[in-house]
């Protein structure tokens, strides 16, 4: 299936925007598979360098992961201060507790303006942005987390066995 909403200015992009490989991940900060995938994706980023552009979109499964959405909102709040990816990495590396106090502590550790950050955590616009990510993912056939799209097409194979890595390699 194809990505119904192409990557655009609303997205968080890491790496060379003109890269041959555009990898879009739909993920959930409380999902153990996404936590595992985080380190694998990091490895691909090192390996493929300027050939890889990474985009992360939120797909929080709120019923089974009640703090996944607050965590997602925290990344959007950090993005307002230019530190989306720093928060994204911090959450995947410290995923034991996403309580509000902890999220504020993370913001402090990343050197964010904590007053603005705390206010942004309550901003309905950021909550709506996370919901829009979820809806777009659902309409693009996301059926689990993580789900990857490569150059706009859903990758149906496995991401943790080398299959996706080899697929990416062949695009360069």
């Amino acid at each position: 299936m194809a990505l119904r909403k192409p990557v655009d200015a609303d997205d968080h992009i890491e790496g060379n925007i003109h890269a041959a490989i555009e990898l879009v991940e739909y993920g959930d900060y409380q999902c153990p598979h996404c936590q595992k995938a985080y380190y694998i994706v990091k490895r691909w980023q090192r390996e493929f360098g300027d050939n890889l552009k990474l985009v992360f979109r939120n797909f929080p499964l709120e019923n089974i992961h009640p703090l996944a959405k607050p965590a997602a909102i925290a990344t959007e709040a950090a993005a307002r201060q230019g530190k989306f990816w720093e928060m994204h990495d911090h959450l995947f590396e410290n995923h034991d507790d996403f309580s509000r106090g902890k999220l504020v502590q993370f913001a402090e550790e990343l050197g964010l303006n904590v007053t603005d950050f705390s206010k942004d955590l309550e901003d309905p616009e950021l909550s709506a942005k996370v919901d829009a990510d979820f809806y777009g993912g659902m309409r693009s056939g996301v059926n689990a987390t993580p789900t990857f799209f490569v150059n706009g097409e859903k990758f149906e194979g496995s991401w943790d066995t080398g299959e996706l890595r080899d697929f990416l390699q062949n695009l360069i």
């Binding site: 499964l61 709120e62 019923n63 089974i64 659902m138 693009s140 996301v142 059926n143």
Partner: protein, 153 residues
């Protein structure tokens, strides 16, 4: 699978340990029947957990979701509580798979239901159906397409 445009066959199945739910009780609403093989498949990729997150989008289209498998009512109760599901799971347990057979989605080899979806309109007519390949979670996109199409009628 049963043909689009045909009347969805009536059934009545346990929805809790002491209650039954019949399809006809939902007349006037759209109904999504999600047949699936078994409770307790792995968490994050689980189809029922996924649909649980999407209920509000189904409800926006006046659609009720019913999960159906051959698991018994006590198994469903435990599974539903564990995954905090907010929609009914029907126990197609005795006689085993009778409703799955009625809807032509019973897998004789495994003794379980196949993974299959039906969208039924307000009048009880089958508007859309989908049989998923074995082991593949079909997601919700097809269901939402079908519901949107009903809105345009």
């Amino acid at each position: 699978m049963l043909a689009t445009g045909s009347i969805a066959p009536e059934f009545s199945l346990p929805v809790t340990p002491d209650q039954f739910l019949s399809l006809s009780e939902l007349k006037g609403k759209r109904v999504i029947l999600a047949f699936y093989p078994a409770d307790w498949s792995p968490v994050c990729g689980d189809q029922m957990a996924l649909y649980n997150e999407m209920l509000k989008f189904f409800k926006q289209h006046n659609a009720e979701l019913l999960g159906i498998s051959v698991d018994g009512k006590w198994c469903h109760t435990a599974f539903s509580q564990d995954r905090k599901l907010h929609f009914p799971l029907l126990a197609d347990f005795e006689p085993k798979g009778a409703v799955a057979k009625l809807y032509d989605v019973f897998d004789e080899a495994s003794g379980e239901s196949k993974r299959a979806l039906y969208v039924i309109d307000e009048e009880g007519v089958i508007a859309w159906s989908y049989l998923s390949p074995k082991g593949v979670n079909p997601g919700a996109d097809g269901i939402l397409d079908a519901l949107e199409q009903l809105n345009t009628k």
